[in-house]
Amino acid sequence: MWKTVRINSKSKTITTEDYNKTYVGLGGRGLIAQFLHDEVDPTCDPLGEDSKIIFCTSLFAGTGLVCANRLSVGAKSPLTGGIKESNVGGNAAAAFAEHNIRSIIIENKPENSNSLYMLFINADGNISLEDASTYEGMNNYEFVENMQKLYGEKVSVISIGNAGERLYKNSSLQVTEFGTNYPCRAAGRGGLGSVLGSKRIKGIVIQKAKAKTEYPYADKETFMRLRKELNQSVIESSKTSPFSLVGTASTIDFVGPAGIIPTHNFTGEISDKIDNLKSDKFMSFVNKNGKNQHPCQAGCLIKCSNIVNDDQGNFLTGGFEYETIALCGPNCDIYDYETIAKIDRYCDDIGLDTIETGATIGVCMDAGVIPWGDTHAALDLCKQMGEGTDLGNLLGQGTEIVGKHYNSNRIPTCKGQAIPGYDPRGSIGTGFTYATTSMGADHTAGITLGPDDPTDIEAAVATSDTMQHIFAIADSMTCMMAMATLGGQLDKVALLYNAMYDTELNAGDLFAAADKNLLLEKEFNEKAGWKPEDNVIPEFFRNEPLPSTGRKFDIPQSLLSGIDKVQ
């Protein structure tokens, strides 16, 4: 019953295909990897006619499993030149599932670059390409407002802002959030907004389905029993989880004093001002006019998101997360939540990855383009990207190109993508992931962080490898916050899978599927031209000790390149 919808952006044809039987049992990141492996030439221009952008729901979207309404977006990344899967919460995946859509593939490229279209899925399930030229140059919040006026308040929207239209390599796709319906959820990494922009598609708009959806459970009774048990376990763990009680910003309480949070363009210098960003300050800030414990998608029982309102009580931003705070805050010597929240709003509106943007601003401050900690100047850099000035167009190319432009010797990137919120010297296993994953520097590819984060190299590498598999499982079926509980019940998760897909898998088979997923991604990148010696951590992390511990990043290059293996 699942459908694949294929859009040819050149001929403007839409075809609906029965779900390929060999793909049954794949979802999210795993399905993205399979599609890209089977259909896309890895050597193609990411913004050219041979590239494709693919949207896939997770394996259990629509079923009521906790955090299962996750949407994966995939393409060859214009930022890294490799395969990219970026996943996001919000209400789009659930809307797709209501229409029995598992995947949407947008291919080719229009000859006329002046045209602009949007994909519209109406309540009856009819799919059409609509002229969107009226909305050219419009940013995400205004676009969504227009879609709500046109198609109803409950419509789900995936869209790009000016950054995606201008083909910025740091551009995101924004997705409307469950509850607020503002476009504050981002498939941020890898510059995938520009891939949609290259197809001259402004967005995808989905009305709620009129007909009630029946999902093809192999054994519905067993599925519902297991779903209840798994959901209950997440409810129990959420009662004491800082991610639930505060939000992902709670991470600062640990990584701030430990000097693992990026500061001052990844120097690691610890400022007393970090206290301004700890959990108690975050709670005061968010709950002054808004609230924390907000679910970003239907069926979320963790509620790590939040709603931030301005002093007048108007919505400012949501999904105000640790990574955004770390990169746009301390990494730029900015230690006030109000400014960071404004940057977050601006990025969501234009359609910019906040991690890439924060890292880029940090490099600019390091290069003397603007003063350290200057909140107005930081916001102005964002506005320049929104307005498309010469400087803005440079900044939109991402941290690595900006760093090279200013001859910086401290460019915090792996494979062209900015390093997220954990200094690799403070979490060497996480650094190993940054250097070796097919995703470029990406915290969602497998972190090893925590009070018991291994400091010996062998254990750190082993933990990175295990976590890369765990996150691959998570990215195909749920969000990683839920995996913090479900990851300890993979036997039960396998039974749930069997009850849905009529298979006989066990926990080991789930790990094997994750392994295949990682290998497909690696194979794509090898064909795209990635080499083992490209698996590097920027040199300054090897030369400069982290102030809090005195440790440099010291995993040998031969291990990063795979020449040597841990025992």
């Binding site: 995996m483 509980t485 990851g487 019940q489 066990n506």
Partner: protein, 70 residues
């Protein structure tokens, strides 16, 4: 004798790591609903192998919360 998170426990015959962890939870030694990363004798055990790998007398087992972040 099994050493679990630096505490000594009497060896239990014929249990997997998963079953052993459940016993630790039942005895309130471990008070966590979170997924765990397990090491046995300093070797990381994959979360899929805990259902197969048996606990042996003299094993040193440590559990840490599975790391996630946002």
């Amino acid at each position: 004798m099994i050493i679990f998170n630096n505490q000594e426990f009497e060896y239990i015959d014929n249990v997997t790591i998963s079953q052993f962890i459940q016993i630790m939870k039942d005895r309130k030694v471990l008070n966590s609903h979170n997924a765990l990363l397990i090491t046995k004798n300093n070797k990381l055990i994959s979360p899929s192998e805990i259902y197969i790998e048996k606990v042996k007398d003299g094993d040193i087992i440590n559990a840490r919360v599975m790391p996630v972040g946002g």
